[in-house]
Amino acid sequence: MPTSGSLWADVHGLVLGAVFLLAYSGGLAGLFTLRTRWETATGLRVLARQLIAGTWIMALVAWLTVVTGTYVVYPLYRSEFRSVLATSFWNTFSMAWKIHIGWFAPILATTVAYVVTRYRTQLAEEPRMRQAMVVLFPFAFVIAGVAGLLGALTNKVLPVY
């Protein structure tokens, strides 16, 4: 039977993490294929709508992940492992880095979602802008991935119950 702490940790890491990964995959595929020579005008409009939905879902999930992590899971972790926080590598490096860099992901994801929403099909005609989003979007994903990996590893050693 999962306890309240472990349930929150699972929601934070597994449930939201899985949705984040799905939204990212769809969003990146949409960004790559949003080109005038590959799509018809109707296809571009449909793709732009999917892209807007995917990027906003990713941004929303990223916000939910960092808020639940910072305000729910992290306080539980701090109270459970107070005695080793200053000495354990898993806190001084792994958790310390994770709780910081995780917050970059929603900011970057929201920026991409906003630009995609404002540009819509025009992104297909502006390759440099699309390429910029193709850089920022995976940047947000890699940052979230590093935070997620550090969180998973830390949770193996210092699990929240």
């Binding site: 701090r78 490096f93 920026t111 920022l136």
Partner: protein
């Protein structure tokens, strides 16, 4: 600042140079960089000043990370709003905005890297 004022009668999207980036899009990108940099700088400041560390404990059970993130998100949103207003009728060179944005994000990431900010503790 490398900006060019746009004629008032000219819509933002029409007739702009290929490299130009207008309105909220430039503001959104650069503001993300500014928010990231503020996050990195505040993280270092927390190491340097115990007073700042205590002041940023907005939610005691989670410690100073709550103040750090709240202020950084505030800096991001406020800078976005200010840049949006400033650049409302201007076009900004795309390469410049994107390069500065990436630089600020990387500086922010370096500032939040524990071995780096630990040097200031």
């Amino acid at each position: 600042m490398m900006v060019r004022r746009q004629r008032r009668s000219e819509p933002a999207q029409r007739g702009k140079p290929r490299e130009a980036l207008s309105n909220g899009r430039a503001a959104a990108m650069l503001a993300a960089g500014i928010g990231s940099l503020v996050f990195g700088l505040l993280t270092i400041l927390v190491q340097v000043s115990p007073a700042v560390r205590n002041a940023l404990q907005f939610y005691q059970p989670a410690g100073q990370i709550t103040g750090l993130t709240t202020l950084s998100v505030a800096a991001w949103l406020i800078s976005w709003y200010i840049l949006f207003r400033l650049w409302k009728e201007r076009q900004v060179p795309f390469s410049w905005v994107f390069a500065v944005t990436l630089l600020l994000i990387v500086l922010g990431l370096v500032g939040t890297f524990p071995p780096f900010y630990g040097l200031f503790g």
